[in-house]
Amino acid sequence: MQPETAPTSDNELLRAVARGEESALAQIYDRYRLILFGLIVRIVHSREEAEDVLQEAFLQIWRRAGDFDESRGRAFTWLVTVARSRALDRLRSLGSRARLAEAAPPPEQIGDAAADAIHSEQAEVVRRALAQIPVDQRQTLFLGYFEGLTQSEIAARLGAPLGTVKTRMRAGMMKLRELLHEQKEGAY
């Protein structure tokens, strides 16, 4: 019982989870459930499957928090990576079923205002950055990120030469990184 002294930074929370503090896991859930669930739904195209995947992801976070290395990247990246990996695993195991569901994206439902506000500024920064990336580059990034396709699978999907796909992905990622740097500097 330490509600008054509960850790607040993501890194501190993950360290606490690694020590086995359930309250820290609950705080991570409260802080990131909206974005992680939104990401998973976008990947698996089903709220029901996504809830199962989110549960799996949090169990993995619980068991593997000790693997997180602060010197290698942000806690947010690690959390998102866990959720994305689990979602892509589920997408593959569902096979074509989930891909067929792409035609009917889930209804938009924004979470509660308080939690949403925490991330809205960051989301706005990213959306602005993505909007500035040329469509063909953005398309390759999204196919890789949200569908887990490899470079040659993306080439096959788009009917584009592999070399072109690689160039677009690299250019898109460079642009994303640059724009995020620039906008972060401007925003904060």
Binding site: A26, L34, I35, F37, L54, T77, T81, D89, I110, H119
Partner: protein
């Protein structure tokens, strides 16, 4: 022969896990010796993860948080259905009893017959409602049971297809774990994806564990054991479970199974029952 700049070109693709085959292995080998590329890849991953913000933020069901915390508390991620049923049980008596309490006043014969008839109708209605309510509850329980059964079967099917895909994948790492003198008839196979670490363990022939114990998988790299999942076996000594091989143990590691307290431990304390040869 690739040079540093060639590898740098691969980092953006690797941050999206879009690189394939030999490129992944060569880049991994380069990353082991190049701090600059490691740092750049970490930055790229930070940038790529921000794409999560491009999705709509969605609210999961209200009960999910408590299900996750319960699973964590019990270290048992299966069968949470029992927690879902109380919500559909408004106690039937509170619905029925307020309807069945007429006040008794002065009686005449006509009133008495009328009252008796009305009471009988009311009683019959109450009994009928009660029977219907019980059937409704039975149906709800049956639906919940079938849903749970379906979810379990789907999970098992998913496990099986994942195991099959893992075992047949060309570039999957596969290790045989042999029984130690503690379990000479036991053997197991661990297959995992070298890239993601996603692993599947299939075990046979382990002896039944005491009630307060369970088996636990270990990844031992550089002499350091890293804990895997805890698992239980069926009546035939078989088990199948998925896990994730930590990055540090994907290339050169020994895999082992020990008998531990049921909740699992962070460092092995029990006897080794299964072990792989050093890779």
């Amino acid at each position: 022969m690739m040079v540093h700049e060639d590898y740098k070109q691969m980092l953006a693709l690797q941050a999206l896990d879009a690189l394939e085959g030999a490129d992944v292995r060569e880049l991994d080998a380069h990353l082991a010796t190049c701090a600059e590329c490691r740092t750049e890849l970490d930055e790229m991953r930070d940038a790529s993860s921000l794409m999560a913000y491009a999705s709509n933020q969605l609210e999961p069901s209200a009960g999910l948080r408590s299900r996750i915390l319960e699973s964590v508390a019990t270290q048992n991620s299966s069968s949470r259905m029992s927690a879902a049923t109380p919500g559909v049980e408004p106690a039937p008596r509170t619905n029925v009893i307020p309807l069945a309490r007429p006040k008794r006043r002065q009686w005449n014969l006509g009133q008495s017959f009328g009252a008796i008839a009305a009471a009988l109708v009311l009683a019959a209605s109450i009994v009928g409602l009660f029977v219907l309510w019980n059937r409704y509850q039975d149906s709800q329980r049956e639906i919940a049971r079938l849903a749970q059964e379906k979810a379990t079967q789907q999970r098992e099917l998913t496990h099986l297809s994942e195991a099959l895909a893992m075992i047949t994948a060309r570039d999957a790492a596969k290790f045989e774990l042999a029984g130690t003198p503690m379990a000479q008839k036991a053997h197991a196979m661990l297959a995992y994806d070298r890239k993601t670490g996603r692993a599947m363990l299939m075990v046979e022939g382990l002896p039944a564990a005491p009630a307060d114990k369970a088996y636990q998988l270990w990844f031992i790299a550089g002499g350091k054991p890293m804990p895997g999942k805890v698992f239980t076996i069926d009546a035939e000594g078989k088990a199948m479970m998925d896990d994730d091989v930590p990055a540090a143990a994907r290339e050169h590691a020994v895999f082992a199974v020990t008998l531990e307290p049921k909740s699992g431990v962070t460092a092995p304390t029990g006897q080794i029952y299964l072990a792989s040869a050093a890779s």
